[in-house]
Symmetry: C2
Subunit: 211 residues, 2 copies
């Protein structure tokens, strides 16, 4: 496993190798500011995000939660359906209730916050593309994890859908309306310790053109 520093170095050297002197898209209209630093900061956030399961005993403010939710809702969504809803759980008894229904997600017992990402079936595409809501909510969940990492929080994606027992457990714990299907429970908090990101790069998982 690579250290953070070596992953950072790999990202930076890859950036240089690619001759990426172009600015992050977002900067070109701003008249400077965004440059290779912005590019590298964004790539580094992606490359160094990792699952964080232990948190400081410190609350996460609702203003910060809003940043995470704005990032989640910036995800791409098929046919612009935005078939998602996010449940912010920051009351101790509700977090404990989730833990009771999701024994595998024990870190909830010590997390100050969890965000439950849900599909909203009233907004899902009709017909044979209906299950695309899963992809939309997954992209939103990844944005949420990245935003958490960017602001100095740690989080972990704990899977709920499509395991019926877990879906029903979360529905009961939160008394969700029938149109919402919980996809993931994401405990969030300020990290109790440093976590090393896994290096999952595998050139063997890349193919080119026609096989």
């Amino acid at each position: 496993m690579k250290s953070k520093s070596s992953i950072k170095a790999a990202v930076l050297s890859a950036s240089v190798a690619a001759g990426m002197l172009s600015s992050c898209n977002t900067g070109s209209k701003e008249g400077g500011g965004a440059d290779t630093d912005s590019t590298n900061a964004a790539l580094e956030c992606i490359m160094t995000r990792t699952s964080v399961r232990e948190y400081q005993n410190r609350p996460v403010g609702r203003d910060t939660v809003e940043i995470l939710l704005r990032a989640a809702m910036a995800a791409p969504t098929a046919v612009n359906k935005q078939p998602w809803t996010f449940v912010v759980v920051d009351e101790r008894e509700v977090l404990d209730s989730l833990t009771a229904y999701l024994p595998y997600a024990r870190m909830l017992a010590h997390a100050p916050l969890a965000i439950v990402t849900c599909g909203d079936m009233t907004r899902a595409i009709e017909g044979d593309a209906r299950e695309m809501w899963v992809q939309d909510v997954s992209a939103a969940t990844e944005n949420l994890l990245l935003a958490a990492h960017a602001v100095g929080l740690g989080a972990v994606w704990t899977g709920v859908y499509p395991i019926d027992e877990r879906v029903e457990g979360v529905r009961k714990a939160l008394a969700l309306p029938d149109n919402l299907v919980p996809l993931a429970v994401v405990p969030v908090g300020y990290p109790a310790k440093d976590s090393e990101p896994k290096d999952k790069w595998d050139a063997g998982k890349v193919m080119f053109n026609r096989q």
Copy 2:
């Protein structure tokens, strides 16, 4: 629809409101460098990514492609299965073949590159969590889109799975082995023009604690 500048301003003001003087996680061990600039660059990349469907007539180098793939493989993955494979398509005739099978993805005819994100069924979880590969590959696809945006490329997620006709079309165009299920085709290129990100924030899609 907000302009890029106003979205940027919203992100920045939200950051300040949250008192986010903490550094991006990635920087704390590096002894400086990463700070609110890094936090904001990462958030801005997430907030300003948008679908790009028109590209310059300019190839994307394989070194740059590797950066996108490294970002994709940094996604979270249930039980660390990494049930994914990425097919890099940069030969004109193969891109055209994809277009023939995916008439809705006409931008492929003018894209220098597409990356097809696939689930690898030999790596999927067994049993009732099997479909979690969709969430893993979706998170990887979102990372790929964000990395493309970070390096100045534009991309768009065109949905394939679970629509049987599209899945079979991509399988035929690429002669994929049976264990691979294409989830999305992502055309990539240098943007031909500026694109405004959609502002999808909707406070009505947020709920708190128990309903």
